[in-house]
Structures are given as C-alpha cells and as structure tokens.
Symmetry: C2
DNA sequence: CGGGATCCGTAAAGATACTG
DNA sequence: CAGTATCTTTACGGATCCCG
C-alpha cells in the first residue's frame, strides 16, 4: 500500500494507510476474536499466503498494534496492544455494515467450511451441555472430502477442540446439513428449528444435546445485526 | 483487490472487499463530507489519478453505495445512497482512531495546503462574521509558489469560495503562518490564541474578524477527538 | 509441527499525457 | 468539466523450500 501512502495529514488517511491493505482487516478480526498463534491465524485466513501473513504481522508490530512475545508454552504469540484493541469498533462497524447492506445471497456464495468450523469452535457455549466429554460430528455431504467431516470435542475444563480427522471418540451427536444451511444458521439468517422443520438439517444421537443445539452452538458474534428475511 | 476477493462468507470480509482498496476510504470521506462532483472530489484527493477515481466511482455505483445522476445545473453529480451514508460510522471511527493513536508528529509530516484549505472552505462558519463580503488571504511563506497564497471569499447567501489566484477583492484580513501551525490549529492540537502568543501566527487587518477567528474558522470535523498535548 | 523465507508470474496502482 | 489511454512500478498470489 505504501510508497509514502496518501500524503495527507487527515487522520482518516493515516488510519486507512494502516488498515486498508489487503488482508489486514481480516487479520485484525482474527486477533480481536482471540487467535494468537501463527498457524491459528492461518486457519481463519485460509487463502492468505504465509509470506504475506508474516509481513503484515511485522508491519502491525512496527505500527504499535501488535506485540510479539513467547507465550507460557514458549511458543511465539501475537497479541493486540491497546492501540490494536481500540480498532475493535472499526472492525465491528464493518461487520454490521456488511450484515445490513450486503445481500446475504452474495455472502452465502462464499462458503468456507474451515472458517465456519473454526469460528464455531471459538464461540461454542458448553454451559447447557452435559458435564462430561461430548463429541459432535458435523457432516456436509455435498462438499469435497477434505471438508466433509468435522468433529468438535467438548470436555469440561478444556478448550473446545476441532478436528478434521476422526479423534476416535464415540460420537454423541451427528449433525448433517448442507454447508449453506449451517452457515445461514451461524449468521442468524436461519434457525435450528426452522432448518429441522424444512428437512435441511438432521440431528441423530443424544436427544438432550440435540434439543439444546441452538443454545450451545452460539452464533457468530456479528449475527445479531442480521437483516430480517425479506 | 479482487480476483474473487477473500472468499469468506464473514460480513467483515464482505465489507473489507468493498472498502479496503486503495483510495476508497478517502473517496468515501470526501463524499460523506459533501463533495459531489468529479473535480471537487479530485481536490480532496490530490494524488489519486483521475483514471482510478473514475474506476472507483463505477465500482461504488455497482455496489449500490454511490448514485450517479445529473444535478440541477445539468452537470454530473455523485451522491451516496443509504448504504453509502451508512458507512459514516466506519469512516468516523477510523478518523477517531487515527487522532487518538497515530503520533501527531507523523500526521504533521504530511502537510497538504490544498487539502487543508479545501476542508476549511467546507467547514467555515460565517455566522460570527460581518454581514458583508469578507475576503481573507492566507499566506504560507515557506511553501512553493503554487500553494503559498489562498483566498477565502465569504459572501452572505453564497457558498464560501476558495481561490488559489487573486480574486481581485480588497482583503479584509491577512493570515500568515507556516502550514504546520495552521494545520495543527485545524486539527485541534493548537489554538489561534496560543499560536498568536508564540508568534507562529500573524493576523493583519480587520480587528473584529481577527478577534473572532477561532470561531469562524471552525475545526476539522475530527478535531474533537484530539489527544491533549503530551 | 510451528514459523517462517524465496522466487516468479500476474494484477493493481502511479505518472503523465491526451480528448470529447 | 469529466473523464481515457498508455506505460511503468509496486503489491500480491502461489508454489516451493527451509530450519529448529
């Protein structure tokens, strides 16, 4: 973006020089939503090359938005500084605008199972689930093999685990739908109940877990801006 | 920015595809601040090529953010649609963030007399001025010739006029300073009184007009987010 | 496996000139 | 006034490789 940027003293211009380069807003979204490690960031930014991710992280560090430091385990972690945390209203405002003014059909043409599952892992609410390990398998039968099957493993006291290959545990609940339906539920444009009723979603297994799905699933943090169906 | 964009259903991603291309945020700033014509937009975007400006306007029109139509005088005008007006919180949030977190020294290294004067023309408040035509000349003696002298002509009932060449009227007030000082005043980081006291600003002419300068000058619409001097 | 660096082809943007 | 046309420079994407 730079070769001296826009050369304007206006603070909008100064901010745009920092924020409006390719992938930067999405990288900040991942950091604001809690990812801290290089390869976790990559999971939310599937089509961003690692070279560019590395470059952007360095730029954000130089601009005082990101701090790079080894975490508890000794592995490098990237955290937002106060200046970076202060960007949250901007990223949220962009999300709300997108929800309100972009045709949801356009969004639903850009399905991404990895991004959806990764975001679900992050927002899943274990509170209404049984106090034991629960394994939930998601099936998207129409997708290519690499993104057809996913497992979420929820264990009390541990972070939720997302697997793309069978973790070997007995499955408590099977969730089957097309990826579009699950994405629409996640974005607040559809509901578990409506999708079940219209046969776009099937739940097989633990009755309790199935009944509570709308609750433990949570929703995208941007879902509450959703436009009511036209 | 595109070759299929980011390929993510997330609304932040959808918004970023629209907003985070070079010059787009600054173009929206100009439209949000009230410019409607191609060459007026160019005045606020000095280093943007007309080819790219034309391209961006077409893109924004295709995205439903800008409407292109002939104005009352028959000349083409660009206006924001409701979807475009809804972007105001985002652009404002970026301005506030820039004011709060970018070192003002960095901003003041990107002085731009044309941008400053054009913004002053837009925000000038004629209310405290005499009820007759007033001509104010600004001098930036250290600048290259093309941006050294500016005239603001304020006439009751007419839009404020900005000239880069002598309009020929008798000057009511001469304002002389370095461009940095006037920009800092405009951004709320300095005041007329302080600059006068420190001899960074000189006012010659109508006493009344000079005394009221801080009032009729107005300030950048982003000035109230200014960080107090360290 | 985490965290990158390198190389090369393509796409976007800048500079400048020109036009209906 | 409201843009095109053309040419050069820069940024980005994608594949591959490296190293602790």
């Amino acid at each position: 973006m730079n070769q001296a940027g826009y050369a304007q003293f206006c603070p909008v211009s100064m901010a745009a020089e920092v924020l409006c380069t390719r992938w930067t807003i999405l990288l900040l979204r991942e950091l604001l939503f809690g990812s801290t490690r290089f390869n976790d960031l990559r999971r939310g930014l599937a089509r961003m090359s690692p070279a560019l991710l590395s470059q952007r992280l360095k730029e954000l560090e130089a601009e005082g938005i990101v701090r790079r430091a080894p975490g508890a385990s000794g592995v490098l972690e990237y955290h937002l500084t106060p200046a970076g945390e202060a960007l949250r209203p901007i990223v949220e405002a962009m999300g709300f605008w997108g929800q309100r003014w972009i045709d949801s059909e356009l969004s639903l043409q850009k399905l991404d199972a990895q991004l959806l599952m990764w975001d679900m892992r992050r927002r899943l609410n274990p509170a209404p689930m049984p106090r034991r390990r629960c394994t939930i398998q998601f099936q998207y039968p129409e997708r290519p093999e690499t993104e057809r099957l996913w497992w979420l493993v929820v264990e009390p006291g541990k972070p939720v685990d997302l697997c793309g290959i069978d973790p070997g545990f007995e499955v408590d609940l099977y969730v089957a739908s097309d990826l579009r339906t699950m994405t629409a539920i996640w974005m607040g444009q559809d509901t578990v109940r409506a999708a079940l009723g219209a046969d776009r979603l099937k739940l097989i297994g633990d009755r309790e877990l199935a009944a509570q799905m709308q609750t433990w699933l949570g929703l995208s943090s941007l879902a509450y801006a959703a436009r009511p169906a036209a």
